[in-house]
C-alpha cells in the first residue's frame, strides 16, 4: 500500500487509459473500434481512388515512352474514343511467316529481344497426313521458319500441309486479365483496348497466368523495356500510341502481304468491316467466353485442306 495503483499510468509503454491500467473492457472497446476501421477502409478507399489514380499517373508520365493518354489526338473529338470500336483481322491464307511483324513490333515497342518475350509472334501449324498437328514458333518466328517443323515429334512425319498463324493480344471484350488484377492496374479503354498501367502493376503475374492466349509476360530488367519499368506485366496494345494518333499498328504497316488488317468496326466503310461481312471469321478459344476481337479469316482452306 506504499504506492498508489494509479502510478501504473506512468508506464512508458502507455498501456493505460486515463491513468488507470487497461482492463478487459478497454481492450474490447478498442477491438470494437478497430473492426469498422478494418472493414470500412476498402469501402472508403473507393472514393479515394481518383486521387490515387491522379498521383500514379503523374508518376507515370515522368517515365519515357509511356503509352499515350487515352484521349486521341488525331480523332478530333473527345468522345471519339468511345464511338470507335477497334478490331483486328488476320488473314491466315495470306501470311507467309516472314516474321517482319515480330521484328517491327520489337523495334516499335522496345520489347525484350529474347525469344520468349513477345507482344506478337507467328506460329506454324503443320498438319501431318494422319491428322496430327505440330505447332512450332522458333524464336517467335522473328527470323522466319526453317523448312522442317521444329516441334517435338514432327521430324520425319509426312506433312500434308501447313499454315502460319500470327498471334497477338485478342483485346477481349471480356478480358480475364482485367478481372483478376488485384490492384486494377490493367484496364480496358473506351475503344476496347486492354492496357496496363505499369506504374501501378505489382508484378504478381496473375494476369500472365490468367490469359488464355499467352499474350502477356513480365518485363525482365535490361536494356529493352517497353516503358522503362521492369518486373511489371506487358502485352500487345495494338500500338495504342500510334492508333490514337490516326496511324496503323507497327505490325500492320510492316506486313508485306497485307495479312493483318486493323480498323474501326463501327465504321461500315472500313476495310475490316468489309472483310468481316464477306468472309467467315473465327476467334480463338470461343468456348472460354472471352469474346476476342481478333478474327482469323482464311482458315477454311488451310485447316481442312
Amino acid at each position: 500500500m506504499t504506492e498508489p495503483v494509479a502510478t501504473t499510468g506512468e508506464c512508458p509503454t502507455g498501456a493505460s487509459v486515463s491513468g488507470r491500467p487497461l482492463n478487459r473492457r478497454d481492450v474490447l472497446k478498442l477491438g470494437a473500434a478497430l473492426v469498422p476501421c478494418i472493414v470500412g477502409a476498402p469501402l472508403a478507399a473507393q472514393w479515394v481512388v481518383p486521387a490515387a489514380d491522379a498521383a500514379t499517373t503523374r508518376i507515370g508520365t515522368e517515365r519515357p515512352a509511356l503509352p499515350a493518354p487515352a484521349v486521341p489526338e488525331a480523332a478530333g473529338t473527345a468522345s471519339a474514343g468511345t464511338d470507335r470500336r477497334w478490331g483486328f483481322v488476320v488473314d491466315v491464307s495470306k501470311c507467309i511467316g516472314c516474321g517482319s511483324c515480330v521484328d517491327a513490333c520489337k523495334l516499335e515497342n522496345h520489347v525484350p529481344l529474347e525469344p520468349e518475350y513477345n507482344r506478337t509472334w507467328v506460329e506454324r501449324h503443320a498438319v501431318a497426313e494422319d491428322g496430327s498437328v505440330f505447332i512450332d514458333s522458333p524464336d517467335g518466328g522473328i527470323h522466319g521458319f526453317p523448312p522442317e517443323s521444329t516441334a517435338p515429334g514432327a521430324a520425319g512425319q509426312p506433312i500434308d500441309h501447313s499454315f502460319f498463324m500470327p498471334r497477338l493480344c485478342m483485346q477481349c471484350e471480356n478480358p480475364p486479365c482485367v478481372a483478376v488484377c488485384p490492384v486494377s492496374a490493367t484496364y480496358k479503354t473506351g475503344d476496347g483496348v486492354v492496357l496496363v498501367d505499369q506504374s501501378r502493376c505489382i508484378g504478381c503475374g496473375y494476369c500472365v497466368v490468367a490469359c488464355p492466349y499467352g499474350a502477356r509476360y513480365i518485363v525482365p530488367s535490361g536494356s529493352e523495356t517497353p516503358t522503362g519499368w521492369a518486373g511489371v506485366a506487358d502485352k500487345c496494345t495494338w500500338c495504342y500510341h500510334r492508333t490514337t494518333r490516326g496511324r496503323q499498328p507497327a505490325c500492320v504497316e510492316a506486313c508485306p502481304v497485307g495479312a493483318r488488317v486493323f480498323g474501326d468496326m463501327n465504321d461500315p466503310a472500313s476495310p475490316i468491316s468489309g472483310i468481316l461481312r464477306e468472309q467467315p471469321a473465327h476467334v480463338l478459344k470461343p468456348e472460354l467466353g472471352t469474346n476476342p476481337r481478333v478474327w482469323y479469316v482464311g482458315l477454311e482452306g488451310e485447316a481442312e485442306a
Binding site: 506460329e123 496430327s132 498437328v133 516441334a151 517435338p152 483478376v180 488485384p182 490468367a210 492466349y213 509476360y217
Partner: protein, 516 residues
C-alpha cells in the same frame, strides 16, 4: 526503458541489451544452440536470396512467361494453407471442445503466425513491387479479383491471430475464445479464397473447378495436423523449454493419439480427392486439364506425383499410422514428416501442372510439348529461408514464451498466486521499467528466494554491474508472482532465473489493497 520478455528483463540500452542477449545465449543448452544456429543459417541463406531478388525484373527466378508461377507461389500456398490447418485443428479443442486437442491451442497459434509470416515473406519476395500491393489493395480495390480478396482476408486473418495470441498469453480467456472462433472463420475463408485464385482461371482448366477451394481446406487439415504431430513429438526433449517452464508429458498425453487419428483421416480424404481429381482430369476434354493430369501420371511431373506426393507423402504415412502394433510416439513423428514433404511437393505439382500445357498453342487443336520450369538457386534459397524462419520463430517462442496449458501457470497465475493482480501487459510477460505493472501480495514476496547474482552465467555478480544495469533489472518479473515457479526456477546449472532480481529491489512490487 526495459522490456520484460516472459519474465526476463531486456534493456533497450544497446550495450545492456547485448549483454543480456549474450547471457541468454550462453545459458542455452548446447543442442538448442546448435539447432538455433542451424535455423539461423537457413534464414541467412534465405536473406541472401531475398537481397538478390529485390531489384525488380532481374531474372533471378527460373520462371518464364509460360510458367510464370514457380516454386515461390507453391511455397506461399504451402505455408499459408498450413496456417489455416493449424487453426482448424486448434479450433477442435478451443471452439468445439474436443478435450484431446485443447493442449495444442497456444502452440497452434504461434505456429500459425510463424507460417503466415513466412508465407507473407515469400509472396512479398515473389512480387516485384510488394509496396505497391499494400497501397493498391487499399486505394484501388478490385473486388472482381480473387487475389484481392485473398490479400484482404489474410491480412484480417493475421490480426485475428494476433488477437487470439494476445488473449491466450495475457490470460483473457474470452478474448482467446472469441479470437479462436474468428480464426476458425478465417481458416475456412482465407484458404478457400486462395483456392479460388486458381479456381477462377477459365484458361487453366486443370485449376478451373469449384473443388480447388475444398482441396485447399482438406490439405490444410492434413498439413496443420502433421506439423502439430511433429511439434508434439519433439517438445518433450529436454533443453527446449526454459528451466522452470518444462511441462510434463501428462499435460498433452492425449494429443498424440488424437493427432494420429486425425492425420490418418486427412490423408485418407486427400488420397480419395487425388484419385478422382486425376480420373476426372484424364477424362477431361479440355486439353490443359488432360495435359496436366498426364504430365503428373506419366510426364515430367510423374516423380513428383507418384514417388513424392502419393508414395512418400500419402501412402507411406498412412501405412505407418495404420499399423496397429506401433505406439503413437513412434509413428507420429516419421509419418508427419513424410506427410509434410508430400504436401510441399503437392503444392509444387499443383502449381506446375496447371501451367504445364502452354496456352499459346492456338485453339487447343494440337498437343504441345510440356512447358519446362526448374527453380533457380535464388528461389530455392528463399524457400529454405522461409522454412528456417518458421523453425526459428517457433523455437524461440517455445523457449521464451509459456506455451503450456497447465493450470496456475503464466496466464492463470492469478488463480494460483492468491491475491496477485497483473495488468494485461504484465500477464503477457512484458513489463515496463517503472513502475512495474505487477502487483504482488506480501506472502508471495516473502516466498521469493533471495538470489542476488545469477544474472550473468559466467560468474559476474549482478551487483558489480554498472548502476543502470542494476536499475534496468530492478523489476518484478511476472513469474516472480508465483512462488511455486520461483523456487523451481533456481536451477542448479546456474542459468539465469526469471525472478533473480526480485530480491534486489522489491520497491516496484506493490500490494494490491483491494485483495486480502
Amino acid at each position: 526503458m526495459t522490456l520484460q520478455v516472459a519474465g526476463h528483463p531486456l534493456s533497450l540500452h544497446p550495450r545492456l541489451a547485448w549483454s543480456t542477449v549474450r547471457v541468454e545465449v550462453v545459458s542455452l543448452p548446447s543442442p538448442l544452440k546448435r539447432w538455433l544456429g542451424f535455423l539461423g543459417a537457413l534464414v541467412a541463406i534465405g536473406a541472401v536470396g531475398a537481397v538478390l531478388t529485390i531489384p525488380p525484373g532481374d531474372e533471378v527466378f527460373g520462371t518464364t512467361p509460360t510458367i510464370e508461377w514457380g516454386v515461390l507461389i507453391a511455397s506461399y500456398v504451402f505455408l499459408v494453407v498450413t496456417t489455416s490447418g493449424l487453426c482448424l485443428v486448434s479450433a477442435l479443442g478451443q471452439v468445439f471442445g474436443v478435450e484431446a486437442f485443447k493442449p495444442v491451442a497456444k502452440r497452434a497459434v504461434v505456429l500459425a503466425l510463424a507460417f503466415l509470416l513466412a508465407g507473407f515473406a515469400v509472396i512479398g519476395l515473389d512480387l516485384h513491387y510488394p509496396i505497391r500491393l499494400v497501397f493498391g489493395v487499399v486505394l484501388s480495390p478490385s473486388p472482381t479479383s480473387a487475389m484481392w480478396w485473398m490479400g484482404v482476408l489474410y491480412c484480417i486473418y493475421m490480426v485475428f491471430l494476433l488477437v487470439e495470441l494476445f488473449g491466450m498469453l495475457a490470460g483473457f480467456e474470452r478474448i482467446a475464445k472469441v479470437g479462436s472462433a474468428l480464426c476458425l472463420v478465417m481458416a475456412i475463408a482465407a484458404p478457400s479464397t486462395l483456392g479460388a485464385v486458381f479456381g477462377v482461371l477459365v484458361s487453366r482448366s486443370f485449376w478451373s473447378e469449384s473443388l480447388v477451394p475444398v482441396y485447399m481446406l482438406l490439405t490444410a487439415i492434413l498439413s496443420g495436423t502433421a506439423i502439430l504431430g511433429i511439434v508434439f513429438s519433439m517438445i518433450d526433449r529436454p533443453g527446449i523449454a526454459r528451466p522452470g517452464h518444462e511441462h510434463s508429458a501428462a499435460e498433452h498425453a492425449a494429443v498424440l493419439p488424437a493427432i494420429r487419428r486425425l492425420l490418418a483421416l486427412a490423408i485418407g480424404l486427400v488420397l480419395a480427392y487425388t484419385t478422382w481429381e486425376m480420373a476426372v482430369a484424364v477424362a477431361s476434354g479440355a486439353p490443359a486439364a488432360h495435359g496436366a493430369a498426364m504430365a503428373q501420371l506419366t510426364g515430367p511431373l510423374s516423380v513428383h506425383f507418384w514417388l513424392l506426393k502419393v508414395g512418400i507423402g500419402l501412402v507411406a504415412p498412412l501405412a505407418l499410422l495404420a499399423l496397429p502394433g506401433l505406439i503413437d510416439r513412434t509413428v507420429v513423428l516419421p509419418a508427419a514428416c513424410l506427410a509434410m514433404v508430400g504436401m510441399f511437393v503437392d503444392r509444387i505439382a499443383f502449381v506446375s501442372a496447371g501451367q504445364i500445357a502452354p496456352p499459346s498453342v492456338a485453339s487447343g487443336v494440337a498437343s504441345a510439348p510440356y512447358a519446362a520450369y526448374s527453380p533457380s538457386l535464388v528461389e530455392i534459397a528463399i524457400v529454405v529461408g522461409a522454412v528456417g524462419l518458421v523453425g526459428l520463430i517457433y523455437t524461440l517462442a517455445e523457449r521464451f514464451l509459456d506455451l503450456s496449458e497447465r493450470e496456475g501457470h503464466g496466464a492463470t497465475a492469478q488463480a494460483a498466486g492468491g491475491g496477485i493482480v497483473a495488468t494485461p501487459l504484465a500477464r503477457l510477460g512484458f513489463v515496463g521499467r517503472l513502475p512495474a505493472f505487477a502487483t504482488v501480495a506480501p506472502e508471495a514476496m516473502a516466498a521469493q528466494p533471495t538470489v542476488v547474482e545469477p544474472i550473468v552465467a559466467d560468474g559476474t555478480a549482478a551487483s558489480t554491474l554498472p548502476e543502470p544495469f542494476e536499475a534496468a533489472f530492478a523489476l518484478t518479473p511476472i513469474d516472480a508472482l508465483d512462488p511455486a515457479l520461483a523456487t523451481s526456477d533456481a536451477t542448479p546449472d546456474g542459468a539465469p532465473c526469471d525472478n533473480a532480481q526480485a530480491g534486489n529491489q522489491p520497491a516496484p512490487a506493490e500490494t494490491e489493497g483491494a485483495l486480502p
